[in-house]
Symmetry: C2
Amino acid sequence: MRKQRHQAYTCCPLEAALDVMGSKWKATILFRLLDGTRRFNELRRLMPNVTQRMLTLQLRELEADGMILRKVFAEVPPKVEYSLSDLGRTLEPLLRELYQWGQTHIQRKQPEASPEPASSSIEKKILRSSN
Amino acid sequence: MRKQRHQAYTCCPLEAALDVMGSKWKATILFRLLDGTRRFNELRRLMPNVTQRMLTLQLRELEADGMILRKVFAEVPPKVEYSLSDLGRTLEPLLRELYQWGQTHIQRKQPEASPEPASSSIEKKILRSSN
DNA sequence: CGGTATCCGGTGCGATACTG
DNA sequence: CAGTATCGCACCGGATACCG
């Protein structure tokens, strides 16, 4: 029996939606799969910051939630292809809007000093890069 | 100096967007504030599962990110009002779509047995309730 | 190639108590 | 009313090693 995924559910659709794609990597994985089918190491190359372990774990959760499909080819060397399921596809507009929102509201901070002091500190969050 | 919020940033707008509202409680808080200004304990009552500590912490982060406004009244007893900032308002369509997606695709499982075995395990996630 | 297994540190977060 | 302070542990997630 698998443990109940994260913490707990209050019953709110919002939380359910976020549980399914709200984590950094799940969203990114789904986003990358919008372009089409990807193999495991393709995804790794597309997302250099995620460890193999985490990529595997997140893919398994997405699969268990029915968001993606995992197709294993009985070959040597092994070959596994990941793609969005129909359910996963329904997230497409949401993912694109999320991406768009990030682009619009969290534009990369320029090296030059801002004209005005900037109303929020969001920009800073973009600065720290991959470890 | 405050620590750089979560883990790290790869530079992806998706992650930035999720960092700002991607956590269960941040999203819920923002969603609640769509209806209008709320006092601290009003929010607590609206979200019985979040502890006082977490509510405070999440509100502070949202404030630091410029998503919400915190207005303190110099009265006894104290009174603090939270509301969405202009930036926070820009998330409204996204939040509503997220909510809608949850409603559409993760309908509450009925006590009755499903006609077909159900293609995914998402429904289970809605079952475990607040601790 | 596409994973598991194991170890282990950091921190997210709840519980509880105290405060202006 | 609207918070801080402190404790404690679960678990998230990185590093590394091994496997079919």
